[in-house]
Amino acid sequence: MDQLVQEELKKAAEKYGNEDLVVILGCPDPDSADIYAETVIAGDPTYAGPLAGVALRLPVYHILEDEIKEAIPRDVYQEHVGLMELSLDKEGICRVLREAREKY
């Protein structure tokens, strides 16, 4: 996650708190999903950005996860995400996110 985005996330967390703010990812594979999730929950693992050592503990989900998919009207989801749902490693990404929410 680049430093500008880390700064924006920090500001948003301060402004809205972690009751209302939810982070939604669209990354293409399980490895990047894991790094994003760790950054959002426990802080920047590379210790390079504004979230180094800052554990925001925000809820984080991927747009492919069923918890999110079920909340979105089916036709809208199909139009905007349907194709990528078929081509990305949905199972792997969802597994990594589930584990990350418990582990970090």
Binding site: V22, I24, G26, L58, E79
Partner: protein
């Protein structure tokens, strides 16, 4: 998961699902998108 009224911070990626596509879905679910960005690592 209930998304209505939630503040959403959207991080799309060019090789995955882009932020604009995610934002359209979340808005249709009644959530408010407070930030969105599509990351590109090429």
């Amino acid at each position: 998961m209930e998304l209505k009224g939630k503040k959403m911070f959207v991080l799309g990626e060019r090789d995955g699902v882009q932020a604009l596509a995610i934002a359209e879905c979340l808005k249709a679910a009644g959530a408010e998108v407070v930030y969105m960005d599509t990351q590109c690592f090429v």
